[in-house]
Symmetry: C3
C-alpha cells in the first residue's frame, strides 16, 4: 500500500518533469526550427567554414562513441552480476541514459556552463539556449564563449558525458537497491551534482582558475562517480551472503562473462570518443595523439592486471583483465593530451596493478561493490588525476586539492541517499533480494523462456 | 517431399539471382575500376572539393551507423522471442541484410531514383550506374541530379536503409512463419515495394510534389514496414498459446533481455546515422541539430513509456521502456530537422505513451506481434508523420494523405503474402511451432551446448 | 609444481616487458608532450591543412572500426565454441588486443615500416618515433615517407590491424590449447611475424617491388593468420570426440548463436574501416567505392553460402551463412579498390561457395578448426589474392607467388609452436579438456550463476 503510494509519487514527479516544458516560458525559444546554414553565409571565409565542418563532425561522432559507453556499462554491469537481478540492472541503465539526457537539457547544461559566475555555483537558466547566432564561424552563446562546433554538438557531446557518473553508481549498488529510491537519487546526481562538478573545471570554475588539470574527466567524471558509489555502498551495506562469519568472503559469480566482455570492449571503443572528443576540435595531431595514449594505457592496464592477478590470485582472471583495461582508460583520462606515449603506458600499467589490489582491499573492508566500480572509477580516477601532475607537468598540489574537492560529492551522495534511506528506504527486503529484483521489482525475468536441452 | 521441392525452387531462384549479373549486358559497365580522384583534378576549386570530402565522409559514416541497426534489429527480435526460434530469427536477419543489399544494387536504387518519371512508378534500368562523371564537385548521375557526395556513398547509404522495412516485418511474423515463404516475400518487399515507397517522397514522386514531408522516413520506411507487418500478422494468425479461451492473453516471455537491450541501444546509435545522415551533407548546424532532436525524442520516449507502463501495468516494465525509446526515435524521424528541441521532447513523450497503449491494444485485438513492431514502427510512424505537420509547419492534410498513401503497402503485402499462403503456405506445422523453428527449419539450436552448473 | 614454474616464467617475461620502457634510452624521446598544432602554423596553406584534417579524421575513425573487429572476433569465437571454454576464448582475445598494441608500439611498427631496407627484413629501432616534425602538411617520419595523416593516426590504424592475424589463430586452436603456450606463441606471432609479413607489401618490401597487389590484406593479414592457424591445428590435433571411429564426424555445437551473430555483424562493420581506411585518406570517390565493393562482396558471400549449404547440407545453416559473409569480406579485401562492383559480387559469391566446401573438406581431412578460421581467412584469403589478379588487372603470376610467399608463416608458426610443444606443451590434459578450460585454466565459469526457471 505504502509502496504503491511511493511509486505513485515517483510517477507524479516524473510526469511533472514532462509537463514542465509545456508551461515554462523559456520554452518558447525552442519554437523556431533552425534556418539552414548554407555556404553562401560563409562565402567570405569558406576555408574557416570547412574547417568548422570537420571540427564539428568529429565532436559529433565522438559524442556518438560516448553514447556507446552506456551500452558498454549496461552490458558490463549486467554481465558481472547475478542472473536474477539482470533485468533490474538493465532497466536502471535504460532509465539513466534517458533521464540524464532530459535533465541535462532542462538544467544540467546551464549549471555546467553558467558563463561568468562565482566559480562554485552558477546557473544560466532552464533549458539549453535556443538556436543561437553563428558568429565568426564558432558560435557565441548567450554566455559569450566560442567553440569550433555548433551549440547542438556541444550540448550533445556533453549530455552523453553527463549520464556516465550516474551509471558508475548503478553498478556499485546493484543487486540490492530499491528501484524508486535509486531513480530519485540518480536523477539528482545527474541533474545537479554532475554539472556542478563539471563547472568547477570545464565551466571555468574555481578548480580551473587555479590550474587544476583534468583533460577528459578522471576526476570530474570518474572519481566523481566513484565517490558517489562509495557513499551509496556504505549506506546500503553488502549483499546478503557476500561476507560470511570469520571474515570469509564468498565470491558471487558473474552471470555472463560474454556480456561483461562485450561491455568492456564497447567501453574501450567509446573512450576513443570520450577522450578524443574532449579535444573539442578535429585538430589532427591532437586527436590522433589522444587516441594513441588512450589506447596504450588501456592495453597496458589489461596486461598489468592480468599479470598482477595471476601473481596474486594464481590464475589468469578474466574479470581482473577486463577491469584492468578500464583502469588504464580511467587513469589516462586526465592527461591523455599531456603525457608521452611511454608515460601513458606507465600510467596504464600502474592503474592495472592498483585496480587488482583495490578490488581485493574493498572486499577486505567489507564494502561490497559487485562490479568493482569504486576501484576502477574512484581509485584509478584519483590515480589518473595525480598522474597528470607527475607526468603531465601540472601542479601536483592542485591535482591533489582537486581530487579532494571532488570528494565533496561523497558527502552530497551520502546526505541525499541518507535522506532516502530514512524516508523511502533504499534497500529491498531480504526476501526480494533472495528471490531477485527482477521478479520483485519488475515481474520479469532476464531469460524467462530459457530451456535446457535434455541430454 | 513437396517441402524439398519448394526449397529446391527457392535455391534455384536464388541461384538465378547470382548468375544474372554474369549475363546482363549492363554488367559490362561495372568492369572498369574507378580512376583515382586526385587533388589536381579539383585544383580550380579546392575549397569546394574539401567541403565535398567532409559531406561525403559523414554520409558514408552515417551509412555505417544505419548498418548497425541491422545488428540492433537482430538482437532485439531474437531477444524478445523464444529461445527455440532464436536461430530462425537470426537467420532471417542475416538473409535480409544480404538480399536487401543485392537487390538494391540490381533494381532497388533505380526504382527509387528513376529520374524524371510519372511520380508513381519509374525505373532507370537494372544495376546501379557505373562510375559516373564528377562534375561541379557533386555528381551528375544519368538521371540528372546532383548531390554533395559520390554516387557510391549515395548508393551505400540508401542500400542500408532499404533492408530496414523488411526487417520490421521479420520481427512481427517471428516464431511461426515458414522460412522459404518469408524469404520470397521479403525479397519482393525490399526489392520492389520499398523503392517505390521511397520514390514517392525521396525520388521526387507525387507525395514529394504535393508538399508531403518525411525527413528520414517515419512513413516511407517505418510505417511502410509496419503496414507490411500488419498484413502478414493478420494472414498468419497468432502464435499457438498466445490467446486463450475467454479472451485471456498469455504473455510469451522474452528469452533474453540482455540481447534485447543490446538491440535497442544499437538501434538508438544507428538512428544517429539514420536521421543525421538524411541531411545528405555534413552541414554543421543541421547534422548536430538533427542528432540533438533525435536524442531528445528517444530519451523522452523512454521516460514516457516507463511512466505510462508503471501507471497502467503497475510495474517498471523493461520491454516497454525499450519500446518507448524506439517509439520516440520513430516519432521524430519525419521531422527531426524541422521542429524545436522542446517539440522533439513532446513528440517523443507522446510516442512513448502511444506505444504502450498500442501494444496492449493489438493484444486485445488478437493480433500477435511478438516484438511490438506494428506499434513501434507502424503506429508511431504515423504519429511522427502527422507530428511533422502539427509541429513542423507542414500541411497536416498532406501529412495524413501521405500516411494513407503509404498504407497501400498493407494491400501489397496482403496480396503477395496471401498468394504465398495459398500456394507454398506461410505457416509452419503445429508440431514444428511447438518444437521450435530452430530444429524444424535449421536443425540447429541457439544454445546447443548450454549446460547448467549443478548446484 | 612444474606448471606453476612455467606460469611464473610467463609472469616474469610479461613483467620484463613492462619494465623495458623504463630503462630503454629511446624512451626519453617520449617525454615531451606534443605542441598543439594551430591554424597559424598552416596559414600559408589552409586548404591543404583542412584536407589533411579530413584525411586524418577518416583514417582515425577507420582504426576505431578495425578495433571493433576484435570484439567481433571475441563474440564469434566464443559463440561458436562450447560453453565450458568460453571464458578461455574471451581471455585470449582480451590478451591479444592488449599485447598486440603494446608489442606493435615496442617493435612491430618499426619492423613493418623500417624505411630503406633489403626488402625482406629491416628494423628501425625500438619504440615508435616520438612526435615528429610536420612538414608539407603530411608528415616526414625518420624513415622518410609522407602520408596525409599524422604519425599517431598511422600508428593507431596499423596497430589495430596487427592483432588481427593473431586473433585468427585463436579461434582455430580454441577448446584445447594450453594458455601460457598460446600466449607466448601469439606474442611472437603478432610482435615479429605479422610486421615482417606486412613489410613485404606495405613497408615497401620485395613483394611490393615486384608488383604483388594486396589492397587491405587478403594475404598479408588474413591468409597470414590462416597459415599460422593451420600449423597450430596440425600440431595440436583435434578436440577429443570430434572425429570418431569409422571416419564419422561429430559436430560440436555452438554454445551461443546470438553471440556468434553479433560477432559477424561487428566484423562486417569493422571491415568498412579495415578496407575503407586502407585508402589512407578520405578520398571521396575511393573510400565510398571501397566501402561499396566490400558491402557487395559480403552480401553476395552470405547469399552464396546460404544457397550452397542449403543445397549440400539440405538445410538453411546459420553458421554457414555467417561464415559466408566473412568469406566475402576476406575475398574482396585484396582488390576492393580495383575491381568493378559486379566483379565484387562475383568474388563474394565464389568466396561464399568456397567457404562451405572448404569447411567440410577440413573436417574430412581430420583437421579440427572449431570456428572455420582456416577456411574463412586462409582459403578465402588466397582466393581474394588471386581474384585481384583475375579481376583487378594485376599479374596473376605474382599474386600466386605472393600467396606462396605468405605461406612461409606456416613454417614459422610450425617451428615456434613445435618448440613450445616439445618444451612447455601446447595442449591441456584430457581431463581438463573434458571438464573445460574455464575451470581448468581460469577457475571461472562463463555463466557461473546461470539458473533455470523451474517449469
Amino acid at each position: 500500500m505504502i509502496t504503491q503510494l511511493k511509486k505513485s509519487g515517483l510517477v507524479l514527479i516524473l510526469t511533472g518533469l514532462f509537463l514542465f516544458p509545456l508551461i515554462n516560458p523559456l520554452y518558447a525559444q525552442d519554437d523556431e526550427a533552425p534556418s539552414y546554414t548554407t555556404m553562401s553565409e560563409f562565402q567570405e571565409h569558406p576555408i574557416l567554414y570547412t574547417k568548422f565542418m570537420v571540427d564539428n563532425l568529429w565532436v559529433l561522432v565522438a559524442g556518438m562513441l560516448v553514447f556507446i559507453m552506456h551500452l558498454g556499462f549496461s552490458a558490463l554491469e549486467s554481465g558481472l552480476t547475478q542472473q536474477k537481478n539482470c533485468v533490474n540492472v538493465l532497466f536502471k541503465n535504460v532509465f539513466i541514459i534517458s533521464i540524464g539526457i532530459l535533465t541535462y537539457y532542462i538544467c544540467g547544461f546551464n549549471l555546467m556552463y553558467p558563463g561568468d559566475f562565482n566559480g562554485i555555483l552558477g546557473f544560466a537558466g532552464f533549458f539549453i539556449p535556443s538556436y543561437g547566432a553563428l558568429e565568426d564561424f564558432g558560435y557565441i552563446t548567450p554566455l559569450g564563449y566560442a567553440l569550433d562546433m555548433t551549440a547542438w554538438t556541444d550540448f550533445f557531446f556533453q549530455a552523453m558525458f553527463a549520464a556516465t557518473g550516474a551509471t558508475i553508481v548503478s553498478g556499485a549498488v546493484a543487486e540490492r537497491v530499491k528501484l524508486p529510491s535509486f531513480m530519485l537519487f540518480v536523477t539528482l546526481f545527474v541533474a545537479i551534482a554532475y554539472p556542478i562538478s563539471g563547472a568547477w573545471k570545464w565551466g571555468g570554475g574555481w578548480l580551473d582558475a587555479n590550474g587544476f588539470y583534468d583533460f577528459a574527466g578522471s576526476s570530474v567524471v570518474h572519481a566523481f562517480g566513484g565517490y558517489g558509489a562509495l557513499a551509496c555502498v556504505i549506506l546500503l551495506g553488502p549483499r546478503k551472503g557476500k561476507f560470511l562469519e570469520g571474515g570469509r568472503i564468498r565470491p558471487i559469480p558473474a552471470h555472463s562473462f560474454p556480456l561483461a566482455t562485450i561491455g568492456v570492449f564497447l567501453l574501450f571503443l567509446g573512450w576513443f570518443g570520450f577522450n578524443g572528443g574532449s579535444v573539442l576540435s578535429a585538430d589532427p595531431v591532437l586527436i590522433s595523439y589522444v587516441v594513441t595514449t588512450t589506447t596504450m594505457a588501456a592495453a597496458a592496464g589489461g596486461i598489468a592486471a592480468i599479470t598482477t592477478a595471476w601473481t596474486v590470485l594464481k590464475k589468469p582472471d578474466l574479470s581482473m583483465a577486463l577491469n584492468g583495461i578500464l583502469a588504464g582508460l580511467v587513469g589516462i583520462t586526465a592527461s591523455a593530451d599531456s603525457v608521452g606515449v611511454g608515460e601513458a603506458v606507465i600510467i596504464g600499467l600502474i592503474a592495472g596493478i592498483i585496480v587488482v589490489f583495490s578490488i581485493l582491499m574493498f572486499d577486505k573492508f567489507g564494502l561490497d561493490d559487485p562490479v568493482g566500480a569504486i576501484s576502477v572509477h574512484g581509485i584509478c580516477g584519483n590515480w589518473g588525476t595525480i598522474a597528470a601532475g607527475i607526468f603531465g607537468g601540472f601542479s601536483v598540489g592542485w591535482q591533489i586539492i582537486g581530487t579532494l574537492a571532488i570528494s565533496i560529492w561523497f558527502t552530497f551522495a551520502f546526505i541525499i541517499f541518507g535522506i532516502l534511506k530514512a524516508t523511502l528506504g533504499i534497500r529491498v527486503s531480504e526476501e526480494e533480494e533472495f528471490e531477485g529484483l527482477d521478479i520483485g521489482e519488475h515481474g520479469q525475468e532476464a531469460y524467462g523462456d530459457f530451456q535446457m536441452r535434455t541430454r
